[in-house]
Amino acid sequence: MQSRWDIGEPEPRTINKATEQLKSELLTLNMGPQHPATHGVLRIEIWTDSEVVAHAIPHLGYLHRCMEKHSENMDYRAVIPFVDRLDYLAAMNMEWNYVMAVEKMLGTEVPRRAELLRIMVAELQRIGSHLMAFGTYALDLGAFTPFLYAFDYREKILRLFEEVSGARLLYNYYWIGGLWNDWTDDQLDRVAHFCDEMEEEAKKYHELVSMNKIFVERTANVGVMSVQDCFDFGATGPVLRGAGFKWDLRKNKTYGLYNEFDFDIPIGTGEQGVPGDCWNRYIVRMKEVVESIKIIRQCLEKLEPGSVMAKVPKIIKLPKGEVYVRTECPRGELGMHLVAQEGEKSPYRLKVKSPCFTHVSMLPRVAPGQMIADFVASVGSIDIVLGEVDR
């Protein structure tokens, strides 16, 4: 793949016989950073040849907040609000990864109830995140109504989270050693009720969007990222599974208590289009919603009363060493490399490996030869959150 520095001047090209005598040049078009189809502050420089994209260069860094550097000056507990802000649509999953890294070095045993609640909350958050992906993807392709339906149901999840943690988006709920607050039985009943509702709702979404002929025409066979492409770039999550490769850290490199749970890993089968296109990436997310509901129900069955917080020292100091923890987040595989120094109150280094970053780097691969409207569909289908890309 060429970087933007060795591209050189584009050669003039001829379009057809009638304009053969005319010199034509590529037109540079900036999509973003304020463009609604870029899902945040991503600027993509597109070199267009009439309506065909010849080359696309993502420009990052508009949401860079020095999160990694900041965390080097925070004590271990105070990093959690910063980790929240990585992927603000799936903040619970981000917290879980960081908290697990610290617990691994601290050697803390998390109580069973807390572990189960963590899985339940993470799966609820996954549903919320996928609903957002579903809504905004339909919005990208010109359908406004699904967005409202998705937000209606996402709101129910956020309301539950607000009651239990106190915030709607940036929770600071997973603490080192357990969870901040316990769920009451009444709230757990509402989760069970939500699962029933969501199952019906997911069917409705399939009828409304997934099998809609216009939607299928817009997304099937568009922006194909093959398994080989995914391996080359290091893509994970729904992008890799949409290409037809069965890989999910919850099953393959299990963490938490996921090994006790029974669920499937949905992959893109090419029901419409070919595996690896926008439609298959989309349908993997929608199927994952149903799988998450399965996990939540099993969680509710397994839950027993107990403590949700283990005993941890008041001032956390880790032994010298390093740890790399990776978890399956809604957008892919998130990894955190935590390096600790003896007697220090804050991390020596916290490196975040973000899934969206690798997915954005795949855009120049799929862009050439696409129409601009198809390119918008491709950007939407990888479901990026710029907070995580720029960190």
Binding site: R13, A54, P81, D84, E163, G166, E207, L208, P368
Partner: protein, 173 residues
Amino acid sequence: MNNFNTPAPHYETGSVKDYFSGLYKGITTTAKGMWITFKYVWAVKPVSIEYPEVREVLPERSRMRLFNDVLNCISCTQCAMACPVDCIYIASEKLPEGAEIKKTSNGQPIRLKLTQFVIDEALCCYCGLCTTVCPTECLTHTHDYEFSQYTIDGMKYDYLAPDVIAWRDRIVK
């Protein structure tokens, strides 16, 4: 030198049969979706809240504007140390000789005289870490969420100001 002669995407036109079956599919699947949306006219209650007139009751744990009850504060500065964004500014001095040592509502002696307690709410990230470390539980998150200001300095709250102290009677939490 690179060659940017990108071939235009080639779209299959297909047979006449495909054309009509596609047309049929397009109409039926869209009609299905339209029907789902149409059902919302009667069958589904509206979920949106007409905000300024109707207000949602916030959950008990909601984290909104901070309030410090300075009469209970022992100037321990634990909140300022726990704060990830350093938005709490505390200053205190020794009590004068022979002064009476007051007690907080949960019985802790106040050994220092609080001279400044300012929180920059514009900087605050509402994470709630400061409230969890407070030993006298004087620093709490209230349920006030409408406090926009014209200038950013207006977001700095001096909790020793008499008008702000007066909030403690109003705020239940």
